[in-house]
Subunit: 263 residues, 2 copies
Amino acid sequence: MAGTDRTRAEAEAAAVPAPAVVLIDPQLGENIGTTARAMLNFGLDDLRLVRPRDGWPSAKATSAASGADTVVDGARLYPSTEDAIADLAVVYAATARPRDMIKPVATAAAAAADMRAQARRGAACGVLLGPERTGLHNDDIALADAVLTIPTNPAFASFNLAMAALLIGYEWFKTGDETAGAALATGRTGAATKADLLGFFAQLESALDDCGFLRVMEKRPTMVRNIRNIFQRARLTEQEVRTLRGIVSGLTTHPPKARRRRR
Amino acid sequence: MAGTDRTRAEAEAAAVPAPAVVLIDPQLGENIGTTARAMLNFGLDDLRLVRPRDGWPSAKATSAASGADTVVDGARLYPSTEDAIADLAVVYAATARPRDMIKPVATAAAAAADMRAQARRGAACGVLLGPERTGLHNDDIALADAVLTIPTNPAFASFNLAMAALLIGYEWFKTGDETAGAALATGRTGAATKADLLGFFAQLESALDDCGFLRVMEKRPTMVRNIRNIFQRARLTEQEVRTLRGIVSGLTTHPPKARRRRR
């Protein structure tokens, strides 16, 4: 199952281009580099730069990208936002909820789902990010179809460029990812069968009968159920059932010797 | 509605403590600071440090926290992971899927949902993050209830501490946030009523009849429907309908003058 899902996800990743990230008037080369790194963490590799203040290429960007060289080296330069988005069909502006504009506003998750759906139909997508200090200019927001906003602590809401790109990339990646929300990693061993488990229960309960732990007969059914629930909940593997059987055997085989030693 | 939701979300934030972030053997003070900043972006403020390599307090951490001083100043030091988690009831280990351990594995989203549910029942939660280079030691993973894993590009999966904390905090925040996925920001003006819109349609279609744009009568019904759909889709506000009515009036009031000027 996991193998099949991975293959399907990979096929989709190849077929559906990830959104472009368009940095408008970015200031520090270092921030461009960390943004490139954050993008590649989630498979985004189309980086577009509009008027980077400190010039391009940038050694600081390459250094800060920590290995995301493909993204930095492939970055394209544009003289204006209009040029940078000309080939795109769906553009989000990453910014706080606008006060003075009438504009659709989507969370990063909703925007990612929309871009995934549009990209599957062949529409090229992109996200605009403004300069570090001031954020996006209203004229750039007006070029976008909608605002992408990241729900955040209102008392401390400032992100740097890379963190914004990371969260946008993360939401994009999640819309194409089929990892199970919760699963049990079992390595090379498999889940125990119920026969394995019932064999262990029989051994354990017999040992508990022998040592007198279950001697109060009116309480015995409840206690047995409670003990069984502990081990059911642990979702044991075959290997672990063998380990537990060994523990019970070990604890019951040499009780006089062990007691003697302790005294 | 938005006001009500915000109030409910804020009441919950006050009532349900966010997870602790436990950094085990963190190396650079700077990384502790950026982690504190990422935590506060999503309202997490319980930072715990186990054996920070470069000592504590750290001027570099304070500087890198960019204003998240409450988190840095409130960080607590512990000599061991066991001490750092003693008061917690639910502990996740943030790491890649383990190869040699039998362990429940949850995505960041599933882990956040679980921690939110447990925290609502009064269980204190926390997430372990290992040192920058090596990640969590297996002995620390064995102290956790489950592994928290962030779905990521398998070809470029390395995060720094702050980015991992950011994504974990983001997922936690989302489980308590009720921001609508998509909405229309309209500022001080409200959505147009259908009467407003129908009034504009009547004005526009009459003007288009007058100028001959709709002269082919068998095509007229389809063209009217197509034009109406353009403006329906725009989900116009009252103000915008007034603007559009003004545009149509403007375009029809002085056509001879305008044409004369252009020549």
